[in-house]
């Protein structure tokens, strides 16, 4: 089938602002959007810039706005975004972060928020002789939040993050959730205090954009509510 791929391009050396360019591509319905972008880059226009690494939906590099929704290009099949022959798909960089070139955005503010929640295990007292043990039931509490691949689909779909960069964003809260609800971790109080700041969970207005955008099907808004309640019970 033949489709048109409409891409929001930006070259910082030449362009003052972003502009659309359309490429006609021959592809299969079973191809992924990433295959189509690779085809454009390798055979039509090598100046096209986008991030990708594993191409199997686990590294979280190729989050982009495809047909108006944040998705991973490597997890999105053409047949799910184009209907019929000569259909058009639109590809834009994720929103709320500074565009450096084409689909490549400055991820530093995103990772700053990630680092601020202390995304590492903090031991409580001396380590045990063997492994840190955890029951299956306790592991279930953090089963969803530990699925996060830090692709930024959620944070860059959040309307509060778009207008107010000081909000820590859903991805960082999901990461905090992963450690707050980890029974082995010893820094729960510290992380809950971070979440209780005015840049933390209270800025979430439950728009549910994050939950819809997540390529890992993490129920993000629910997890944020769990963190809100944990903060409430901690302060009570």
């Amino acid at each position: 089938m033949q489709i048109n791929v409409k891409i929001l391009r930006f070259d910082p050396d030449k362009d003052k602002k972003q502009h659309w360019e359309t490429y006609a591509v021959e592809c299969q319905p079973s191809d992924r959007v990433l295959d189509v972008l690779n085809h454009i880059k390798w055979y039509i226009d090598p100046t096209l810039g986008f991030r990708r690494s594993c191409a199997h939906g686990i590294c979280g590099s190729d989050a982009m706005l495809i047909n108006g929704r944040n998705r991973l290009a490597c997890k999105t099949l053409i047949r799910n975004v184009v209907t019929g022959n000569a259909g058009t798909i639109t590809v834009e960089p994720i929103r709320g972060l500074k565009v450096e070139k084409d689909m490549v955005v400055d991820m530093e503010p995103f990772f700053d928020a990630y680092r601020s929640i202390m995304p590492y295990f903090i031991a409580d007292g001396a380590p045990p002789a063997a492994e840190y043990l955890q029951s299956e039931h306790d592991a279930e509490r953090m089963a969803h939040s530990s699925n996060c691949i830090l692709c930024a689909c959620c944070t860059t779909s959040c309307p509060i993050f778009w207008v107010n960069g000081s909000y820590i964003g859903p991805a960082a809260i999901v990461q905090a959730h992963r450690f707050i609800f980890d029974t082995r971790d010893g820094a729960t109080q510290q992380r809950l205090n971070l979440m209780n700041q005015n840049t933390g969970v209270w800025r979430c207005r439950t728009a549910y954009n994050c939950t819809e955008a997540c390529p890992r099907d993490i129920p993000i808004t629910e997890l944020i509510e769990e963190v809100k309640r944990a903060v409430m019970y901690q302060q009570a």
Binding site: I160, V163, N164, Q190, N193, L194, N196, Q197, N198, W202, R203, R205, K228, V231, M232, Q235
Partner: protein, 122 residues
């Protein structure tokens, strides 16, 4: 430095979050009750000035209306404060818009309270 900042947090946003949930729930019943008692319980022809005067002579009605006024103003003001803090980025204009907005609402609250308590047509 980070520890000091973490310890110096306030629970203001947490308390407002709890308030929004409780007041929202109360307002649903207060507003529906008010609609029922004003428009369903009495027929339209009975909804006269005298009927309202009669109602507002009872302290319970005054308290009901004042609770409605207070909760809806606080709930609405806090919701609007969320939007102002989200969407107005510059610090000075954020402060001015908030001050102006809070002053208008405080004026409405004072006028409403005075009107309700001092209501005495006789």
């Amino acid at each position: 430095m980070v520890d000091a900042k973490q310890q110096a947090h306030s629970n203001a946003e947490l308390n407002w979050w709890i308030f929004m949930r409780i007041s929202g729930l109360l307002l649903i019943f207060l507003v529906l009750g008010h609609i029922y008692m004003t428009f369903v319980q009495v027929s339209e022809s009975d909804a006269t000035f005298d009927a309202v005067v009669g109602k507002l002579s009872q302290p319970a009605w005054k308290f009901y209306d004042w609770l409605l006024l207070t909760l809806s103003l606080l709930h609405g003001v806090n919701g609007a404060r969320y939007s102002i803090e989200d969407y107005i980025r510059s610090r000075p204009s954020k402060a001015w818009v908030k001050i102006l907005f809070f002053m208008v609402v405080a004026l409405i609250f004072v006028m409403g309270t005075i009107g309700l308590l001092a209501f005495n047509p006789g």
